[in-house]
């Protein structure tokens, strides 16, 4: 009781929580859920982009995409490490993912069908992620906030690369332009939905706001994303697939058409185009790697004496 109040007072005073500090169990659980979901998203997110490394259309683009996917693995590592400071193990978190108990971002349940999807993911998905994540750099839990600083720096680089891919396509041949517009058509709404349900339907929000692990509402962040992205699309001559989209002079923001939340929930429920494939790919990699991890452990045990 007194602990809880002191904890909240420190948060309100802008003092960061560190692993050794006392914290309410529900704060710890909420953070483990959020950080591990974020870590899983980085790792699962390697799959849709990894799908195009072998088919990248130039060596420079291949190299850049490899570097990006490598970065995502790195983000996964930082984030698992941040979660581990809360007293859980990476293996347990991974087991929860494979058992379908832990979530990852639904956006990665959409397929990457053309090279333009790599551009669209960088531009839109990383763009949306940054908007979600920049506030988290100031979140109350120290290890998470510090991890997010590194992550955001790299994401912003990825976002620019994605937009560069789209720009090149939009200025390219008719087939390339069509490819870019098609990718925008398919990724726009899923990206808009990345910010989660409308504020009225969002759970956990009030408590998370008080704990400073969620600093803005879903709808505010979504609006920021839309306001930032629409002019970028116009600049390169692509059309946002929303007939109702228009600038609202009064609000000083873009208005958009209705969001198809039925689709969103169906993907969350597991019925997206790639839910089964993504989880199967992760589980298969993990299961096929079991003998390798066993061998590494056996080797380390045999030579434990020598290394000291």
């Amino acid at each position: 009781e007194g602990d809880e109040r002191r904890f909240q007072d420190r948060i309100d005073a802008g003092i960061r929580v560190e692993p050794e500090d006392w914290m309410p169990e529900s704060y710890r659980r909420t953070l483990v859920r959020q950080i591990s979901q974020h870590a899983h998203s980085e790792v699962v997110g390697m799959l849709p982009e990894g799908n195009w490394i072998t088919r990248a259309p130039s060596l420079l683009r291949k190299a850049t995409l490899l570097a990006k996917v490598q970065d995502e693995g790195g983000h996964g590592l930082y984030l698992y490490a941040a979660a581990e400071t809360l007293g859980v193990s990476r293996d347990d978190l991974i087991d929860a993912l494979h058992a379908g108990k832990a979530k990852y971002s639904s956006i990665f349940n959409y397929p990457t069908l053309t090279w333009a999807d790599i551009g669209a993911i960088g531009w839109l998905v990383d763009g949306a992620a940054i908007i979600n994540q920049i506030p988290l750099c100031r979140c109350s839990y120290g290890p998470y906030g510090r991890a997010m600083v590194r992550v955001c720096k790299e994401e912003s680089f990825h976002q620019r690369q994605g937009y560069d891919i789209m720009t090149r396509l939009a200025q390219g041949s008719e087939a390339q332009r069509r490819m870019a517009q098609d990718a925008l058509n398919r990724w726009w709404w899923p990206a808009v939905m990345m910010f989660g349900p409308p504020d009225g339907e969002s759970v956990h929000s009030a408590q998370s706001a008080a704990w400073r692990i969620k600093l803005h509402s879903n709808d505010d962040l979504r609006q920021r994303f839309i306001d930032q992205t629409v002019p970028q699309a116009e600049l390169i001559g692509l059309t946002i697939p929303d007939a109702d989209l228009r600038w609202n002079e009064e609000r000083g923001h873009y208005d958009i058409g209705p969001i198809d939340w039925e689709e969103f929930y169906s993907v969350v429920r597991g019925d997206g185009p790639c839910n089964r494939e993504r989880l199967a790919a992760r589980k298969s990699a993990w299961d096929r790697g079991a003998w390798v991890r066993d061998a590494a452990a056996a080797h380390a045990a045999k030579h434990a004496g020598e290394q000291k």
Binding site: T54, L59, A63, G73, W115, I165, S173, A175
Partner: protein, 244 residues
């Protein structure tokens, strides 16, 4: 073999192995390994870009690194057969990588002494990366060879299966010797020594030399190569003249 073909061969080895590793990102046994694989693939694609650009410069016909990577037919690729062998499981991947790395680093070291400053420059840059690759793959050969009974057998089998593709690494030719300079003769003994040392630490046997497969450097590849190129080249081949 002309200087052009030689430089192509250096580029193609890096390109094809980098392409193979590219297919593995996100599917490794542990996250650290996914990161390492992407990193090594990235080094190799980077190296390929340097050699292929130089090859285009030497040829003088205006072909770019991308023209050479994406618009050449299989018969014009000059990589050794070793790098086009399938990823298989982790033991196969690591055995292939180790047998290649042990040679690749030694070759790049020799090329640092090339009279051609462009070649020496690229070799100098890439050698450091190759040394890291070698320490990484040798580490896994040792861990798997000297790990569990299962991993030992898998690694031994992988080394045995790939052994016939190691002879081609050392196929001598006049152009090569001239290109590399006086140290060419040191590569094979150094490679043998590295392989013997690492396999010994891994409690693995060095396979006996039997009939060695060859042909890659003359454009005669294996059945794996065609599908690899189909996947790699499909988009550029489908959009002639497009820029990306």
């Amino acid at each position: 073999m002309s200087l052009f073909d030689h430089v192509l061969s250096l580029g193609d080895n890096a390109l094809i192995l980098g392409q193979q590793l590219s297919a593995l990102t996100g599917h490794g046994p542990v996250l650290e390994e996914d990161i390492a694989t992407a990193n090594i693939a990235l080094d190799l694609v980077g190296e390929a870009r340097l050699w292929l650009s130089l090859a285009g410069e030497i040829e003088g016909a205006g072909r770019s690194e991308d023209d050479l990577a994406f618009l050449r037919d299989e018969i014009d690729f000059r990589n050794v057969l070793l790098v086009e062998q399938p990823n298989g499981d982790f033991a196969d991947t690591m055995a292939r990588q180790f047998l290649f790395d042990a040679w690749h680093e030694a070759l790049l070291a020799a090329l640092c002494a090339s009279a051609d400053p462009r070649i020496a420059g690229i070799a100098g840059k890439c050698r450091k990366e190759a040394l890291y690759h070698l320490s990484h793959s040798a580490g896994w050969v040792i861990r798997l060879g000297d790990g569990t009974a299962f991993s030992h057998d898998r690694m031994q089998q992988a080394v045995r299966n790939l052994w016939p593709y190691t002879g081609e690494l050392f196929e001598a030719d006049a152009g090569g010797t001239a290109l590399i300079g006086a140290n060419a003769g040191d590569i094979r003994p150094l490679w043998r020594q590295r392989v013997a040392d690492t396999l010994a630490r891994a409690a693995l046997e060095v396979p006996a030399d039997r009939w060695m497969q060859g042909g890659g450097r003359r454009g005669i590849h294996s059945e794996h190569m065609g599908r690899l190129l189909a996947e790699m080249q499909h988009i550029p081949r489908s959009h002639p003249g497009a820029r990306w």
